[in-house]
Symmetry: C2
Subunit: 139 residues, 2 copies
């Protein structure tokens, strides 16, 4: 099946980020160094999928950056000088599919609530996947 | 807006993987060590988004694993012993949103075709995002 004619994949939000960050403009450029702590609330129907997550130290949290623009294919160069950059050569939140992948430290698990450190997604950002971070696959 | 009631995000395939791997069963468990080379064909309408990608050595390729099952929340333990694992504590391709994140070496760029090493997605797998891999963000 040609992916251009196949039905478009629809994402199901499996949870939501609760964070002190309210506005993308507040997000530090180095979100991870700032060590922002946030809570991932996994929706109750996905609780069985969390079995064993508490044994992991680090996770990849895949978010849908719902406030992003999807129609931008290029963004200005970071320093304002030079030609525009294609979004696939940047980590701009604006891109055709505004997915973000955050490696986080898992601090604690309380039922369907995960305390994590190192995510600069704003409060209310939908979460679409969680995976263990595995050096063999991710480094 | 509550993400549970917001419209569900729809992904646009931005390209497709061309690979010698035809069947998930062929995929080596250590796909990256096997160093499989594949081509990412980016659809022509997204060519402007590739501007500057050729300057990068490593990319994250985000794929939609279109052959996966989305209804499984748990999978058997790897060694067949022990209780089932929640999919969010595994890298199983079967998960509510079957997204895969592959860090690859970028070998060459020829127009809208990217030669990459280190991806075990099968031939025909839709690509939904490309990002530069940045140690500060991804390690």
């Amino acid at each position: 099946m040609n992916p251009e004619t196949a039905p478009l994949p629809v994402l199901y939000p499996i949870g939501v980020v609760h964070s002190p960050l309210r506005d993308p403009a507040e997000a530090p450029r180095q979100g991870r160094e700032a060590g922002i702590e946030a809570e991932i609330e996994v929706f109750p129907q996905y609780l069985p999928a969390l079995q064993g997550v508490g044994e992991r130290d680090r996770l990849l949290v895949v978010c849908w950056l719902h406030r992003s623009r999807r129609d931008l294919l290029q963004v200005p160069a970071k320093d304002g000088a030079g030609p525009p950059r294609g979004v696939f050569s940047t980590r701009s939140p604006n891109r055709p599919n505004p997915l973000a992948v955050y490696p986080v430290e898992l601090m604690s698990v309380n039922g369907h609530r995960l305390r994590v450190r190192g995510i600069d997604a704003v409060d209310g950002t939908p979460v679409v996947d969680l995976k263990p971070r595995v050096p063999r696959l991710d480094d």
